[in-house]
């Protein structure tokens, strides 16, 4: 099963509204990352939050991490049509800080912004 699982699987909102996506995972992690993917191709890195951080901001993005609940959320404020994409959380659960930091991805949330 996937380490990270996002919900909802699909989300449609009006342009200008805020979009919130959640991610749950199972094992201890070093960090959690959020990626955006358009049209099923390359992934664009959005934000990385370390296991000792609780909240991080980047422009219109806000990410929270609750390691006690093994969950994270991604908030996109003032959504735009260009935000339409699939969003994935990915966890790095390696026990070392240097080595194979392979990522384990969830199944993603498909976000549609209605103009």
């Amino acid at each position: 099963s996937q380490q990270g699982e996002e919900d909802p699987q699909a989300l449609s909102i009006q342009e200008g509204e805020n979009a919130t996506m959640n991610c749950s995972y199972k094992t201890s992690i070093n960090n959690l990352q959020w990626y955006r993917q358009n049209s099923g191709r390359g992934l664009v890195h959005l934000i990385l939050i370390r296991s000792n951080e609780r909240e991080k901001h980047s422009g219109r993005l806000r990410v929270t991490l609750d390691t006690s609940k093994k969950s994270s959320s991604l908030l996109i404020t003032a959504s735009r049509a260009a935000d339409t994409a699939s969003y994935f959380c990915a966890t790095d659960d390696s026990i070392s800080n240097f080595g194979n930091e392979k990522l384990t991805f969830g199944t993603g949330t498909r976000l549609t912004i209605i103009p």
Partner: protein, 115 residues
Amino acid sequence: GAGVSQTPSNKVTEKGKYVELRCDPISGHTALYWYRQSLGQGPEFLIYFQGTGAADDSGLPNDRFFAVRPEGSVSTLKIQRTERGDSAVYLCASSRDGSSYNEQFFGPGTRLTVL
């Protein structure tokens, strides 16, 4: 270019054929990853290179899959005796040194279709 590039962007082959997929990482990045993404799913880890060596190939599904990175830069993913189930988007990513704090930069992917 400054980003990760992958060739070809699309590959259609017949069942039983051999294919090679190429990845050019960002210059100077020592860590290189291959992932596979099936329709409607998140990417799944295949193999990780640190320099020229495959440090972790635990994600390769079977011995028909093999990857090399002979000079520590370009990598080639090789699939023998392709099967219809191999159809997916194959994504390559690189990072500066594989550290837990380094972002992975993804290429646009190669869409493989096995008929």
